[in-house]
């Protein structure tokens, strides 16, 4: 059976706006806890369920971040870093293992600084990029562990919620 691609309905647009707002709210809510964030987990889940429609959700979140916190160097990192997680998730669409998603989320947290350092190569040179990466390694390790555990605990219930929403949307 071939399922026809449906055009974006108003309900989809509202949901996508809501998902961006949730991303932003969750980011703010956990800002006081260093290295603990749920943005990675939510982006994995959104990509799993919305596929390419997750991209506008991610970029609305990125623009919101810039508007509220300013368009500093970190913002340019945000322009590509979440897209990397999106691409990795798209490549793992067939994965059904919770551990697989936790490894992806943990690995992304661990490599966050290394990925961010790429932009410093162009902005400040390779030496400055390396210094920035090295200084952030303890935070990256904590970020990776935090992401891994958050995914193990929260992936299944949130995945179930999004599957129910998706089911309602199709109906």
């Amino acid at each position: 059976m071939v399922r026809k691609k449906r055009p974006l309905a108003i309900r989809d647009l509202v949901l996508m706006g809501l998902f961006s707002a949730i991303l932003f709210g969750v980011q703010l809510a956990f800002a006081f806890l260093p290295n603990v964030e749920l943005v990675s987990l939510l982006i994995i889940l959104y990509t799993r369920h919305l596929k390419y429609r997750a991209l506008p959700v991610i970029y609305v979140f990125v623009v919101l971040e810039g508007l509220v916190f300013g368009f500093g160097i970190w913002w340019f990192i945000y322009l590509y870093i979440w897209a990397v997680l999106f691409a990795m998730t798209m490549m793992m669409q067939k994965n059904q293992s919770l551990l697989g998603w936790a490894i992806l989320s943990g690995g992304f947290g661990l490599c966050f600084g290394a990925l961010g350092a790429v932009s410093y190569i162009f902005l400040s040179g390779p030496q400055a990029a390396f210094a920035w990466f090295v200084a952030g390694i303890p935070f990256d390790i904590a970020h990776g562990i935090g992401n891994f555990l958050a995914c193990l605990v929260l992936f299944k219930p949130l995945d179930y919620l999004l599957a129910r929403l998706e089911h309602q949307r199709i109906e």
């Binding site: 006081f32 490894i103 390694i137 990776g144």
Partner: protein
Amino acid sequence: MLESGKNNRKILIIAGICLVVLAIIFVAIYGVFMPRGQAGEKTIGLTVVFSQDNQKEYKIHTDAENLGDALKEEKLVDGTQGEYGLYIETVDGVTADASNQEWWCITKGGETLNTSADLTPIADGEHYELTLSKW
């Protein structure tokens, strides 16, 4: 079916091992290249630039090994703890107004730093500037 399940488990085990190995490599890189502050007593200079015609000079005597700790010891800064250490919001009682796109920019001898105050090692005789800037 059974074969595919075995393959998936194999891939997961390999991915898990790669993740742990990568973490160990990162720890090793940090051990070799981590920024080290100078131990013992030292004196650093600090210029706080509130505006073009309003600046204050400080001499800070400290045992701290990074700029963040030295500034906190002197109760010169306040802010929120972020992913990369203290995000400075207030310097010497003056708070950057984020709604007005203001922030405190840290420079060392006029050159922008790529690290937060907590991740900036200090040595005797260095000079830093904290400038109320706009993005």
